[in-house]
C-alpha cells in the first residue's frame, strides 16, 4: 500500500498568509483588517504589499467585524484576521447580525484555533468555535488540514461570494496535501479508500487519521479516510456514500464534542442511515497549557485514540 507521507512541518497560518498575499495580487477589491495581531496571524506580507488596503483596527474586534460588513456591502472583499476565539466567540452577535443575517461577503479568518495554541492555555484555545459559527444561517465553515490546503482554501474563499469562517492553527504540523491544489468548498477529499470503517477528520486531525488508518491496515482492517475540510456545508453525498459501504464511523477533530464535525455527521446519519459512530473530540471542558503535541495527546486527539475508536466502532457493528 502506498502511504501518504508529509514532506515537511509547516504552519497552517503561514499558508493563510501566503494565500492572502496571492489573493490580494489577483483581486484589488480584497482588503484586510486586523486587530493588533498582524504578524501572529501572518497578515504582514499583505500589509506590506498593499498598505492602502490594509486596515489596522487596534484591539477592537467588535468594531472590526462591523467595519468588515461595511466594506463588504460596499463591494470590497474584506478578510478579517485574529485569533480564532477573538474573531468568533468574542463577537458572535456582531457576526450574527451584520455578517450572517445580512449575508455580507466577509471572510473571518481565525488563526491559533484549538488546543494546539498550546502554552497560551485555555483562554486562547478556542474549541467551541465551529459549533457557534455553523449554527448561524448563511455561514460557511472551513477547517483546512495543513499549510498547502490552508493556502488553497484562502484563495478559494476569495472567489466565493458570501460569509465564510476559515479556521486554522498556529504550530508547525505535517504538510502532506498537494501544493497548488484546487480547493472546492463543500467537497470532501477521499485520502484513502477502505471498506471496514469511515474515518471523517478535519483540520490538524486529518494526518493522525491517516496514520491510524495505516495502523489499522497492519491489523488487516481497511479504513477509509476522508478529509472534511468544509464542515458547513457538509458534503452529504461523500459521507453517505462512504458509510453505506463501511457501516460504521469515527469522526476526528480538534474541537469540542458538542457542535463539531462529529455532530454534523451524526445529524446527517441519524436522519438517513444510522450506524455506530465514535467521536474523537474533546469532552465538555476547557483546555490546558502545554506543548501542542502534549496537549493533543492529553485530550486524546491523536492517532492512537483514532485507532482505538475505530476498533470500538467496528466492534459495535456486530
Amino acid at each position: 500500500m502506498e502511504k501518504i507521507q508529509y514532506t515537511e512541518l509547516k504552519e497552517c497560518r503561514a499558508g493563510f498568509g501566503e494565500g492572502l498575499l496571492e489573493a490580494g495580487k489577483q483581486n484589488e477589491d480584497i482588503v484586510a483588517l486586523c486587530a493588533d495581531l498582524t504578524a501572529s496571524v501572518k497578515m504582514d506580507a499583505f500589509a506590506k504589499a498593499f498598505p492602502e488596503r490594509f486596515f489596522q483596527i487596534g484591539i477592537a474586534e467588535a468594531n472590526m467585524i462591523g467595519m468588515a460588513a461595511g466594506f463588504a456591502l460596499s463591494g470590497k472583499i474584506p478578510f478579517v484576521g485574529s485569533f480564532a476565539n477573538f474573531c468568533t466567540t468574542r463577537v458572535l452577535d456582531q457576526i450574527r447580525m451584520v455578517v450572517a443575517y445580512s449575508n455580507n461577503n466577509v471572510k473571518i479568518c481565525g488563526s491559533h484555533a484549538g488546543v494546539t495554541t498550546g502554552e497560551d492555555g485555555a483562554t486562547h484555545q478556542v474549541m467551541e468555535d465551529i459549533g457557534f459559527i455553523k449554527g448561524l444561517p448563511n455561514m460557511v465553515v472551513i477547517n483546512p488540514c495543513d499549510f498547502n490546503q490552508t493556502k488553497a482554501a484562502t484563495l478559494a474563499i476569495a472567489n466565493y461570494k458570501g460569509p465564510v469562517y476559515l479556521r486554522f492553527g498556529r504550530p508547525k504540523m505535517p504538510n502532506f496535501t498537494p501544493e497548488n491544489q484546487q480547493f472546492e468548498i463543500g467537497k470532501a477529499v477521499v485520502l484513502k479508500e477502505g471498506k471496514d470503517i469511515s474515518i471523517f477528520a478535519t483540520g490538524h486531525l486529518v494526518y493522525p487519521a491517516l496514520e491510524a488508518a495505516y495502523m489499522l491496515h497492519d491489523k488487516g482492517i481497511a479504513a477509509e479516510v476522508i478529509n472534511i475540510h468544509t464542515i458547513k456545508p457538509l458534503d452529504n453525498k461523500a459521507v453517505l456514500d462512504s458509510v453505506m459501504k463501511t457501516k460504521c464511523v469515527v469522526t476526528a477533530e480538534e474541537h469540542l464534542l458538542n457542535g463539531g464535525l462529529g455532530d454534523s455527521v451524526a445529524q446527517l446519519l441519524v436522519r438517513n442511515y444510522p450506524v455506530p459512530q465514535e467521536y474523537v473530540a474533546m469532552e465538555d471542558r476547557f483546555g490546558i497549557s502545554g506543548k501542542p503535541e502534549e496537549v493533543l495527546s492529553y485530550f486524546g486527539l491523536d492517532k492512537e485514540h483514532i485507532f482505538n475508536a475505530s476498533l470500538k466502532a467496528i466492534q459495535r457493528k456486530k
Binding site: I57, A62, G66, L73, S102
Partner: protein, 284 residues
C-alpha cells in the same frame, strides 16, 4: 425651491409620517412609536432633501451616492415611512409593517431587498462600525460622497460605539456624519438614572470629533445644522450632531416620558393621538 417653501414641504411630509408611524404601530399592535416620532423630522430632511441620492437609483454598494445607516434599528416605523414618503417604495406597503411575509420587518433587514437599507440593525451599538467600513471603502474608491449614521443616545452605552468613535477620530474618517438622537431617555427610564452619558460633547471632542448641537424637532434648525455638518466634512475630523429631540414628539401624552419607547397605543389612545396630527398628504 425657496427656503421657506422647502421647510413647509418637509414639515408637511414629517407630519404625515407621524400619522404613518402611529397607524403602523397601532395596526401591528407592536413597534416603537416614541423614538420614531422624535426622529422623523431628521429622517424626512435626510431622505427628502439632504442626501445626494435619488430614491430610484438606490445602490446596495452605495457607489457615487450618499449612504445612510440606522444603528438604533428599532425605529423602523420612522425609517420605513420616511423612505416611502421620499419615493423609495410605495406608501401602500407601510400597511404590511411587522406582518408575515413583509419586507418591512420589525427591525431592518436586507433579506428582503427593501430599497434604502444596506445592513440589518437592531442589536444595538453596531451601526457606526458598519458605517465606518463603508466610509473607508468610499475613501479607497475616491468616492466623494458621504456616509450618514443615526444612533440612539442610550445606545452609546454599548462599548463597541467607543471602539468605533476612537477609530474614526484617530484615523480621521472625515466623510461621515453621525447623528445622535439625544432624547435623554431609554427603555428603563431617563438616561441619567440608568447610566448617565455625562458630558457627551466633551467626550466626542476628546476623541477628536467635530461636534455640532441643535434641535432635531425644528425643521429650519435641522437643515441648518445638517448643512453645517456637510461643510465640516473633509477637514480631518469625523462629524457628530448631538440632536436634541423629544421622544413621542407631536403627541402630547407620548412626550416627556420614556413609556412609549416600545409600546403600541390601544384604540382609545390611538384615537386621541391621531386626532392631534393633521393628515397633510393623505394616509397610506
Amino acid at each position: 425651491m425657496p427656503n421657506k417653501e422647502r421647510i413647509t414641504r418637509l414639515e408637511n411630509q414629517a407630519t404625515q409620517s407621524r400619522r404613518d408611524i402611529l397607524r403602523m404601530v397601532y395596526a401591528a399592535q407592536s413597534g416603537h412609536p416614541g423614538g420614531s416620532l422624535g426622529c422623523i423630522d431628521y429622517m424626512t430632511a435626510l431622505f427628502s432633501n439632504v442626501m445626494r441620492r435619488s430614491p430610484k437609483d438606490f445602490r446596495m454598494d452605495g457607489k457615487d451616492q450618499d449612504m445612510f445607516f440606522l444603528s438604533n434599528g428599532h425605529i423602523t416605523p420612522c425609517l420605513y415611512s420616511a423612505l416611502a414618503r421620499s419615493g423609495y417604495f410605495d406608501i401602500k406597503e407601510l400597511a404590511t409593517f411587522r406582518k408575515l411575509d413583509s419586507r418591512l420587518q420589525g427591525h431592518p433587514s436586507v433579506h428582503d431587498h427593501l430599497p434604502g437599507i444596506h445592513v440589518a440593525s437592531g442589536s444595538l451599538g453596531q451601526g457606526l462600525s458598519v458605517a465606518l467600513g463603508a466610509a473607508e471603502a468610499k475613501k479607497l474608491n475616491k468616492d466623494p460622497y458621504l456616509v450618514y449614521v443615526l444612533a440612539g443616545d442610550g445606545e452609546l452605552q454599548e462599548g463597541q460605539n467607543w471602539e468605533a468613535i476612537m477609530y474614526a477620530g484617530a484615523k480621521k474618517v472625515d466623510n461621515l456624519i453621525l447623528t445622535v438622537d439625544y432624547n435623554l431617555k431609554q427603555i428603563d427610564g431617563p438616561i441619567d438614572k440608568v447610566l448617565d452619558l455625562g458630558d457627551l460633547a466633551g467626550k466626542f471632542r476628546a476623541f477628536d470629533w467635530h461636534v455640532l448641537e441643535g434641535n432635531g424637532n425644528n425643521m429650519e434648525e435641522l437643515l441648518d445644522v445638517l448643512s453645517q455638518a456637510k461643510a465640516a466634512c473633509g477637514k480631518g475630523k469625523p462629524v457628530v450632531f448631538l440632536m436634541r429631540t423629544e421622544m413621542g414628539y407631536g403627541v402630547d401624552f407620548m412626550m416627556g416620558t420614556h413609556k412609549w419607547h416600545g409600546t403600541p397605543p390601544n384604540e382609545e389612545q390611538f384615537n386621541m393621538a391621531i386626532a392631534q396630527i393633521k393628515e397633510t398628504l393623505g394616509d397610506y
